[in-house]
């Protein structure tokens, strides 16, 4: 194995800031509230946010490529709705899972095709995709449908004990598997590296002969697939299908990516980042819950504020990089070359 060394450079400074934030948030929660510093509270962060971790990781690929996917939340809702409806028709749990994955993948591929083939703006296409997915869910039913399929209930409620009485769920395992797979794809596959290259400079990527069109479509397909997996995990969590599930969750996913150090201009970021971002927002939620008197909208405001901070942070780093890229400053000592050993 390679030696892990911690170096601060503009590449990982954001992710280090995120880690620091994570420790501060968790530390202050633990210091302020009794019972906060417990294994189960920590594990619950994963249990409650497993779906978001998966969806945000898929989103990370799209953002690193230099795009965006606003349809993720409605795809999750659509999957929950389709699953519930299929169960009403008496479908088998595995057929349902297969159908869900297929729907998500096709949905993503469709969006990717429109974006790549006709050079449409990803914001517009996926915004339309968001409405389309919600619209289809509404067509299926406007009411919430409870899922009572025994396999799903079993999968949903099965507890895996990790330490004495502390447990995680199958969803957490799925989320971890997805994150690990994403990290491997991002680092060790040609597709993953092409995603980074296109995000860094699409023009260069074309001139270097990378399959830009194919990669773009695949990225949106992957995001669709991850949304579908997230949808299944979320359905485990809620055990119901409802077309209004997770309104605005796409913003949470984007915020998690930004807080997790994925640069919105593309090309930079670690795929573990979104998970860290989700944990940050999860801890904020938990703190607000423990506090008791603060209302839930404080979560939105805090996350929005963090979003702004990290965005401004990113912008400053990008601006400084642009400056240092000028040939004139070539001979000056380069700030970014400084490496601080921790």
């Amino acid at each position: 194995m390679k030696k892990v060394s911690l170096k601060i450079s503009h590449n990982n400074i954001i992710v280090l800031a995120t880690l620091l934030l994570l420790f501060i948030l968790y530390g202050s929660g633990a210091a302020l509230y009794k019972g906060f510093f417990s294994m189960q509270v920590f594990l619950n962060l994963f249990i409650d946010n497993a779906y978001l971790i998966i969806v945000a990781t898929g989103m990370a690929f799209v953002i690193i490529k230099g795009g965006i996917d606003l349809s993720v939340a409605s795809v999750v809702a659509l999957i929950s709705m389709v699953s519930a409806a299929l169960f009403q028709q008496g479908a088998n749990a595995f057929v349902v899972i297969f159908a869900a994955l297929l729907i998500g993948t096709l949905f993503g591929a469709g969006q990717g095709y429109l974006i790549q083939r006709f050079q449409l703006h990803p914001w517009i296409v996926t915004l339309a995709g968001m409405f389309l997915a919600r619209g289809i869910s509404f067509l299926i039913s406007t009411e919430s449908i409870v899922i009572s399929n025994p396999t799903f209930v079993l999968l949903s409620q099965h507890k895996i004990y990790v330490w004495e009485k502390n447990f995680i769920t199958i969803s957490v395992l799925i989320a971890l598997a997805v994150v690990i797979a994403a990290i491997l794809i991002g680092r060790y596959s040609s597709f993953g590296r092409a995603v980074y290259a296109i995000g860094g400079s699409e023009k260069s990527a074309i001139l270097m002969g990378l399959p830009v069109a194919r990669t773009t479509i695949t990225v949106y397909t992957l995001s669709g697939l991850f949304s579908a997996i997230g949808g299944i995990v979320f359905t485990f969590y809620m055990l119901s299908g409802y077309s209004l599930h997770l309104m605005g969750m796409e913003m949470d996913a984007i915020a998690s990516c930004v807080i997790g150090g994925i640069l919105l201009t593309g090309g930079f970021g670690y795929l573990i980042g979104p998970t860290l971002g989700v944990l940050c927002t999860g801890i904020i939620q938990t703190i607000i819950m423990f506090q008791g008197t603060l209302s839930s909208w404080w979560t939105k405001i805090t996350i929005g504020f963090l979003l702004f901070l990290f965005m401004a942070f990113q912008r400053i780093i990008v601006m400084r990089k642009e400056k240092s890229a000028l040939p004139a400053s070539k001979n000056k000592p380069n700030f970014e070359n400084k490496v601080v050993n921790l």
Binding site: W123, A128, F131, L132, R134, G135, T142, F308
Partner: protein, 336 residues
């Protein structure tokens, strides 16, 4: 025959013809399917009917779409209008306890102005992509609105305030006059000052316009600020119409409607020329579509589906690549 074709070609060059045509087609459909659609009544000193409803409910959309036209003309976008609208509405209803009406109205508009300045600063000064920059306010905005309302749906029984959204003037709904007022002011600003020229020039070619002595940053800031003010006004109308402030649902998804209205009205997402008149008819078309779907008795939520499809079709029609491949396909058919 030739002159007729020429006339048609001339008309089709006028961008405003498309939204009007769309409305006409929709109304023809209604004429056949729902004959009741056009019935109007005179009751309690003002008009009632679907057409009046379209004008009344469409007014906030028209106002927001006018602002959106300006930011799209600079090749930007503002997806935070719904949240800004919620803030303005919440603030207005909240302040009704204890402040005179004019202060309340000014506060609501002022909130919109501040939000617009914020967005403008992020886009023009910090250089953040418009979608991302306005995303911040979209996320935070409803939280702020909830903070103002304390998480409840605030209601008001102030009659003067309710007049803004529900009242009638000369037999027509009052919001319609507000919408016309906003249109007139922005239209005059476009045609009687150099703002229209500068915005179109800076949106069309930023480098060339800055070489010609225009400051694109100032122009873009102004566009975002006007959009914020428009959202503020719309927020007051909506909260007054429902006599309450609903931080969660007021103006939900209005940004898509507004974008759609602008695009159908002939303003391109790539910036440059903008058409305020086209936007008005675009907004009216969307509102007519909504009202039609309601009158058809179809599940109102399916309107999302219809709008999504319309967005994609409009974008495809505007895409050069799509038109090219369409032409190629045609040629192939002709060749075979």
């Amino acid at each position: 025959m030739a002159s007729l074709a020429g006339l048609a070609r001339n008309l089709s060059k006028q961008k405003i013809i498309w939204p009007i045509l769309a409305i006409v087609v929709l109304f023809l459909f209604n004429l056949i399917v729902i004959p009741d659609f056009f019935r109007m009544e005179w009751k309690d000193g003002h008009l009632f009917g679907n057409l009046i409803d379209i004008l009344k409910n469409g007014s906030p959309l028209i106002i927001i779409a006018i602002g959106m036209t300006l930011v799209i003309a600079k090749e930007g976008i503002d997806i935070s209008v719904g949240s800004v609208l919620a803030i303005s509405g919440a603030l207005a209803v909240f302040m009704l306890n204890g402040y005179p009406l004019w202060v309340v109205v000014l506060a609501g508009i002022g909130a919109g102005l501040l939000c617009g300045l914020w967005n403008g600063m992020l886009v023009a000064i910090l250089g953040i992509q418009p979608m991302v920059a306005t995303l911040i306010l979209l996320t935070i905005g409803r939280g702020i609105a909830q903070l103002i309302t304390g998480g409840q749906v605030l209601t008001t029984s102030n009659k003067a305030f309710q007049f803004i959204g529900k009242g009638h003037l000369l037999g027509l709904p009052f919001p319609l006059f507000l919408a016309m007022g906003v249109f007139l002011i922005v239209y005059l600003f476009k045609t009687r000052t150099a703002f229209g020229l500068f915005l179109e020039a800076a949106g069309g070619n930023k480098t060339a316009s800055s070489y010609a002595g225009i400051r694109p940053k100032v122009i873009f800031m102004t566009a975002y600020t006007i959009t914020g003010i428009c959202a503020g006004i719309a927020g007051i109308i909506i909260s007054s119409n429902i006599a309450s402030a609903d931080a969660n649902n007021a103006g939900l998804w209005i940004e898509l409607d507004a974008i759609l209205a602008v695009v159908i009205g002939g303003t391109s997402m790539r910036g440059g020329r903008f058409y305020l008149g086209g936007t008005i008819f675009g907004a009216l078309f969307i509102q007519s579509l909504t009202t039609t779907i309601y009158s058809l008795g179809v599940e109102p939520s399916s309107i999302l589906l219809v709008k999504a499809v319309v967005v994609i079709i409009v974008c495809l029609i505007q895409s050069d690549l799509f038109r090219q491949s369409f032409k190629l396909a045609k040629k192939k058919v002709a060749a075979s």
